[in-house]
Amino acid sequence: MKRIALLGMPNTGKSTLFNRITGGAARVGNWPGITVELLSGKILLGSDMVEIIDLPGIYDLHGFSDDEQVVRHFLHDNVPDLALVILNATQIERQMSLLLQLRQLNMNIVVLLNMSDEAKKFGITIDSKKMAEMLGMPIFQISGKYGTGYAETLQAITKALRYPTPGMAEQLRSQLEEDEHIESEMARVLKHAVQIPAQLPENLTDKLDRVMLHPWLGLPIFFGIMYLLFQGIFFIGEPLQIWVGEALNWLRSSALDPALAGLPAWLSGLLLDGIYNGVATVAAFVPIIILFFLFMAMVEDSGYLSRAAFLMDALMAKMGLDGRGFVMLLMGFGCNVPALMGTRVMRSRSLRLLTMMVIPFSLCSARLQVFVFITAALFSPKAAPVVLFSLYLFSFAAAILTALLFRKKFQSSEPFVLELPPYRFPTLRQMMLRGWFEVKHFLLRATKFIVAGVVLVWLLTHLPPSAAPASSGTLAGMLGDLFHPLFEPLGINDQLMIALLFGFVAKEIVIGSLAVIYGLTGDALGGALGQHLDWVQGYSFMLFTLIYTPCLSTIATLRSESKDLRYTLLTILWSLGLAWVVSFVFYQGARALGY
């Protein structure tokens, strides 16, 4: 019986074509020269039965990956009467190399250009007649998707099989044997110098995983680790934060105030009350941000994130997401922007869109900074960590609600297959490097936004010059009047509302702009907030800050990653609406209960 070998690179639709030609009646079989089993099927061509064998997809006929060796050995020991080479027409310039390698073997070849319909859409035109002439072999354009071009192909194959190439087997063997020398050399070195046990002995990773991925203990351990991490960040970070704040205040009162005393009042006001106060308030958070990124870098590099995906996948699947989506959500606790870009690993567009819709609810480090400040101002030191933890729960709840509501709109059947790396304890250097990289990025972004933001806030709260600063006569006061009816039912006063408007650009500005609006920094600002607001108002403000869009960068990333303006608008409107409703229900509910 004559033999046809089906050859091509991975992702060319080779298996689809094989199933189509054989009508799905394939069997698994052993072949001389190779240890893996290959799929083959018998079909009737003309008046003869021929056998067609599906070889593994390879990139390079002379390569040394498992698949490439299998293909070579198969061809050597089972020289086919015809090689049916399938190329992806959309990647023709990359795939041509394999065809030319096969042609060098002087094999009897018929070429199929698959996905020709898709290539047309990309504007790729292929003159298959001309190409056939130049290469000296029959070439056909087919579309596996629409099933076009098969009849001619089968005819050509029948014809080609009638005229076998003389001496082909000998030539082919001698050429393939050159690669075999390299193979045997490789095997000899590996055999004598490298030992890989058939079954790996239980190592540290296995022992750790027995506990960390335990059916019952896995999830509680996971949440415990997360809780400890956040506790640790504040335990170490808060004293540092207080120390930096005091140092910056001292610098102002002992050096900057006297130095700038000679300037006109409006200029020193802009420089000190505007820029310096705004930047100093934010700078005090740098230690916490550094710690946060250091800890995140440690978790990420240790290999634990893939374990989190394993533990959470079952729950995420119920929301129409997968374990990777959960990992992205966690990364979003650092910054939403890289988390959104991380969804690129998902192939299904609807799964990606749903995941991207959920990520902006992750309580990112910029929002964390706002919450740390407000909780310190309005809650007792004992209650503050609990309040912060509750905001994380709200962050998850908003994400879950969004996924559940929109999972019907964005349905997908993307397979979930992930490699699980062994645990690696990141070196201090690695952690420092990564942490530093993230912090640098944060500071660059933050300073740019913060300086521009606080100057703008200062101008809005001090213009026109005739009005008293931050009074209702200023531009900010007028903006406040405009939006007052919308925010009044949420318990959010005009000053906070102005800060929210700026927070739309970046959350890093929120506290800085409050510093400018109230003309105070650090503890003094906290004290002023404590006098103007009760805890219900403060919490309502934090809920709104948590849920309404993270920042302009996130919106820009959503737009550029989704390439869909309507989707981006839907995401913004949904989060704004949800923020308003949640704050409204909380504020009115708490008031109704008598708080």
Partner: protein, 77 residues
């Protein structure tokens, strides 16, 4: 020899992959991770709430959902 799917194995079981009945893209992804007929595969553990499986092929550990594991025919060693 009885053929069953990877999803039918129990933690600790070792088997040999017979065939993979997956669509092209998943097939490629599995091949890239080392799933090939004739290879030995060990089921390490299953996540609770019908979550994913952890399997080992050679020196590589892989996570996959049960729905994907059902597409992989194996033969218990």
């Amino acid at each position: 020899m009885s053929s069953l799917t990877l999803a039918h194995l129990h933690p600790g079981d070792t088997a040999t992959i017979v065939t993979i009945h997956a669509e092209e893209s998943l097939h490629q992804r599995l091949q890239a991770l080392g799933f090939r007929s004739g290879k030995q595969i060990e089921l390490i553990r299953m996540a609770s709430f019908s979550g994913p499986l952890q399997v080992r092929i050679g020196t590589t550990d892989i996570l996959l959902r049960r729905s994907e594991a059902e597409k992989i025919m194996v033969c218990r060693a």
